[in-house]
Amino acid sequence: MENKDKMKLANDGLPEHEKPLFCDARPQTYKPLGKYVEKFLNWARANSLWILGYGTGCGAIELRPLMTARFDMFRWGLAPRPTPRQAGVFVIGGYMSVKTLKRVIRSYEQMQGPKFVIALGSCTINGGMYWDSYNTINRLDHYLPVDIYITGCMPRPEALIAGFNKLKAMIKAQQTDGQNEYARNFDWYKANQKKIVKDWNMPDYNW
């Protein structure tokens, strides 16, 4: 980060005429505001988690029961949100193919911080039953900063609720900060992402 050229992103995947259309700034890290202010804000963040409605794998089917009368996620302040701009929690539902990962990265980077990632199922941890497949990734934490893993194949809605409550506790205790982690290790994450997403035809940091 010493000189200015290093601050700019190359955006090599884009054609030349599209380069000026996109932002080339790197993600920044953010310091907490003040002890008590941040504590109050974290309380608000923890009690109003908006999930991005993007089902990436079979685990998306486990999110639907959460909205029904039986599990009722609204009472914990969770709500689905149709656009990444407004969402704060990205629930990765199970196995992720390379094609999906590309869209996931794009959506994740469009989310406004502080943002959190919950990964469901053994597929996101070590590949699960698709560990030796040619098109599904093995470890999600090489591509995105994951806050909570919920194990199972697939985890039941009760497990999801437990995971969300754990995430809330972590936010309140200020133990998790995916946005800053992503910004700090940006080069490492980007190298990993680019290693498997072969046709990188989007800006390096799309926000």
């Binding site: 390379v98 094609k99 070590n126 030796d132 093995n138 470890r139 290693k195």
Partner: protein, 179 residues
């Protein structure tokens, strides 16, 4: 069904069929006669629905086998027409003019097996794999495990069992070892 199949065999000089069910037959046909046969089946014999096209790779005999499955709604019968392609340069006549959805199957086959269908629309576009640079992944000489281990950062500590041996051990343990 039987007379009809004989008629088909007469018409297109098809190699002997084999069938496991009364209403399902598989026939192997010469590569260049396939569009004729499919047209005839569709327009005159009532096989109006192409259920799927699939491929099997046989590296032992250097062939790729394509199966075109057509279905007759009136008689509720299926006919699978098989073609053997050369594996080194797999190329097949496109039949997208008969059924529109064939173009999509052919796109997938092109991506997964590397079979070329000249003239098929949008054939070279990405289907499921974006920017794939390796051997087409459904070819049998492509080692998925090796590729996955090389590419996807496997998490250390994974234990893998051969399902057959593992179930044998779990369900029927060797009595001598138990003592």
């Amino acid at each position: 069904m039987k007379e009809f199949i004989e008629k088909l065999i007469d018409k297109y000089a098809i190699k002997p069929m084999h069938s496991r069910h009364a209403n399902q037959v598989f026939l192997t046909i010469k590569q260049d006669r396939l569009p004729d046969a499919l047209t005839w089946l569709r327009d005159f014999a009532g096989y109006t629905h192409l259920a799927f096209i699939t491929a099997v790779d046989y590296p032992e005999i250097e062939k790729i086998q394509l199966t075109y499955m057509v279905h007759n709604y009136q008689e509720n019968t299926d006919i699978g027409l098989r073609v053997l392609l050369d594996r080194r340069q797999p190329e097949m006549i496109s039949v997208h003019h008969l059924w529109q959805h064939v173009a999509t199957y052919q796109r997938e086959l092109h991506e997964m097996f590397g079979i070329d269908f000249p003239g098929s629309p949008r054939l070279k576009e990405n289907f499921a794999l974006e920017g794939w640079q390796d051997v087409p992944p459904m070819r049998r000489d492509f080692d998925t495990k090796e590729y996955a281990e090389k590419t996807y950062f496997p998490r250390p500590g994974r234990e893998t069992h051969d399902p057959r041996e593992y179930m044998k051990q779990k369900l029927y343990p060797d009595p001598k070892e138990e003592k």
